[in-house]
């Protein structure tokens, strides 16, 4: 069976991170913002997995577990906040949440 070079996996991870970041910057709908963050986190996670495979260690995989746990926390709190925001603003447009500035 052929193996995937670590560098390739790292590049994919970097692309994921970049995609997520782009999504974070261009999407106005907050659901997509949260999705974008998930993509970024998974990019980082993939990088850990790739590095762990390269060094034949479990450490990176454990880090991935931590990352998805954190992502879940983020989603849980995030969705709760989205509900509240919708309750207040009647929209999911992230740009609408800009009452504080200056």
């Amino acid at each position: 069976m052929t193996t995937v070079p670590m560098m390739h996996a790292m590049i994919v991870a970097a692309i994921l991170l970049g995609l997520g970041l782009t999504g974070l910057l261009v999407r106005r709908n907050i659901m997509f913002t949260l999705l974008s963050i998930e993509i970024m986190l998974n990019g980082a996670g993939l990088a850990f997995i790739a590095a762990a495979a390269h060094w034949k260690q479990a450490d990176g995989q454990v880090m991935y577990l931590f990352i998805i746990t954190m992502a879940a926390v983020e989603v849980a709190v995030g969705l709760a906040l989205v509900l509240q925001m919708y309750h207040h603003l009647r929209t999911l447009d992230l740009d609408a949440a800009s009452s504080m500035k200056g």
Partner: protein
């Protein structure tokens, strides 16, 4: 795990245990006073366990390490959390419409995360501590979910912190890919000397993640909005505990990786420090919302701290330790006044709320003025001695540009602090915007008194504290 290690881990065990206990307690019956008592008690117990803990550096699993450094910073963090918990009691008592008990669970967890950060010697514990801290902070910021501003602040922080965490993680992954270890010291040893571009980018991304949490420029934009929207105790917490813990981590990481002596990092961070100092102070210049002002001023103070941080060495670390202590005491002091004055509807964060404070509450006004003067760095306050140390460290390391930036930008800072002091001693033109504040809770009074004593003690006779800090950071290598 040996008994010694469990003893060293006791503060964390106590904090988490208390959080679970409160949770279970709430399942049985809600009682605010009791919850506060448990929270405060556990924080005090955690401090005690630190004081009585092992006196020699103890590694606790490969992830954590208890030494003088972590004892000092953990103590600082726990004490600050204690003050916030005490002050929250009166604050939430006045907000009768909000269910307040869960706030203390979050506060304890955030404290546990912060303590983890001060002990972290491994990227995994670094990440876990950071996320426990920020996960709790998300909820603490948006705690008053019925207020639109709070929810907005929560979302902003969540989105931005999530993104920055991803960047931080990716940076860690890059370092890990290069070195094959997640232990900070081991990774540094492997990297020793030449850094290839990818690893360099990795460390840069880690620094970005840390810089975001410290609100260094150009990652500072979130701070003001988040502080403004968050309830005052949370803002106090974010400005003191969270910043302190992350700075402690930064110092430890830098000591392991020798960041200050590496020209690319040094120059980049120095640039960030200069921009941060000016950005913070300029943004605060005409700010008339006290929370935003404190956010900007905390940005500026983090910039000052970077000067001592970049100076490195024992003197630099002593300066960081002392300045952080002084900064935390003073910032807590200002927030304490704000919390005590906050009414049932909104926080006392407008300039108008402070006009004529000296009439209504002369003592409180004096405390307020004293704390602001300390933030401005006037003599006989903790802030002056702290700034003196920062300058001494900067001068000792020949960081002339940074020292000049510090001096100039802190001259600007005087203007906006004085503005609030002048307001406090001015004559109210109209009846106060807030109803004459309710009688101060006894606990809050005690807390403020202790803060004032600490402020003056550090300002007038700091020698003992400084000696302790010197010893603490000397072990922290």
């Amino acid at each position: 795990m040996t008994l010694e290690q469990i003893r060293a881990l006791l503060p964390l065990i106590i904090l988490v245990g208390a959080a679970v206990a409160i949770m279970l307690g709430l399942a049985v019956r809600r009682n605010h006073a009791f919850t506060v008592a448990v929270a405060v008690g556990s924080l005090a117990a955690a401090i005690l366990s630190l004081a009585l803990g092992p006196t020699v550096a103890t590694p606790i699993t490969p992830l954590l390490r208890l030494d003088g450094f972590s004892v000092f910073f953990s103590g600082l963090i726990l004490a600050a959390s204690l003050f916030v918990a005490v002050l929250s009691h009166g604050y939430w008592n006045r907000r009768r419409t909000v269910i307040s008990e869960e706030f203390y669970i979050l506060l304890l967890l955030a404290a546990a995360g912060s303590v983890t950060l001060t002990m972290a010697v491994h990227f995994a514990s670094f990440f876990l501590g950071l996320e426990i801290l920020s996960g709790s902070l998300y909820a603490m910021i948006a705690y008053e979910r019925d207020r639109q501003a709070a929810v907005e602040a929560g979302i902003k922080y969540l989105v931005l912190a999530g993104g920055s965490s991803a960047v931080l993680l990716f940076g860690m992954a890059l370092v890990y890919a290069r070195t094959g270890t997640l232990d900070m010291a081991a990774a540094a040893a492997k990297l020793a000397g030449a850094l290839d571009v990818l690893t360099l980018a990795g460390v840069a991304m880690i620094l970005v993640g840390i810089g975001f949490k410290l609100a260094l420029a150009p990652f500072h934009l979130w701070a003001a909005d988040v502080y403004e929207g968050a309830p005052a105790p949370t803002a106090a917490y974010a400005a003191t505990v969270s910043k302190g813990a992350i700075f402690a981590l930064l110092v430890r990481l830098a000591a392991a990786m020798d960041i200050q002596s590496n020209p690319p990092f040094q120059a980049t961070l120095a640039a960030a420090a200069v921009i941060t100092m000016f950005a913070g102070n300029l943004l605060a210049l005409r700010q008339s919302n006290l929370k935003r002002l404190l956010a900007y001023s905390s940005i500026a103070h983090m910039g000052y701290l970077l000067v001592a941080f970049l100076a490195a060495g024992t003197l630099g670390r002593t300066a960081v330790g002392f300045y952080l202590a002084a900064y935390i005491i003073t910032t807590l002091g200002v927030f304490a006044v704000m919390i005590v004055l906050s009414g049932t509807e909104r926080d006392a964060d407008r300039l108008e709320d402070y006009i004529g404070l000296s009439r209504a509450h002369p003592l409180l006004a004096a405390v307020f003025a004293g704390m602001l003067l300390s933030l401005a760095g006037l003599p006989l306050t903790a802030g002056f001695v702290g700034k003196f140390y920062l300058l001494a460290a900067g001068v000792g390391a020949h960081l002339w540009v940074l020292v000049a930036a510090l001096v100039i930008s802190s001259t600007i800072s005087l203007f906006y602090y004085l503005r609030f002091i002048a307001a406090a001693y001015a004559q109210p033109a109209a009846p106060p915007a807030l109803p004459a504040a309710v009688a101060m809770p006894r606990l809050a009074r005690l807390a403020i008194a202790v803060l004032v004593i600490l402020l003056l003690w550090l300002g007038v006779y700091p020698a003992a504290v400084i000696r302790a800090i010197q010893e603490a950071v000397a072990i922290g290598r």
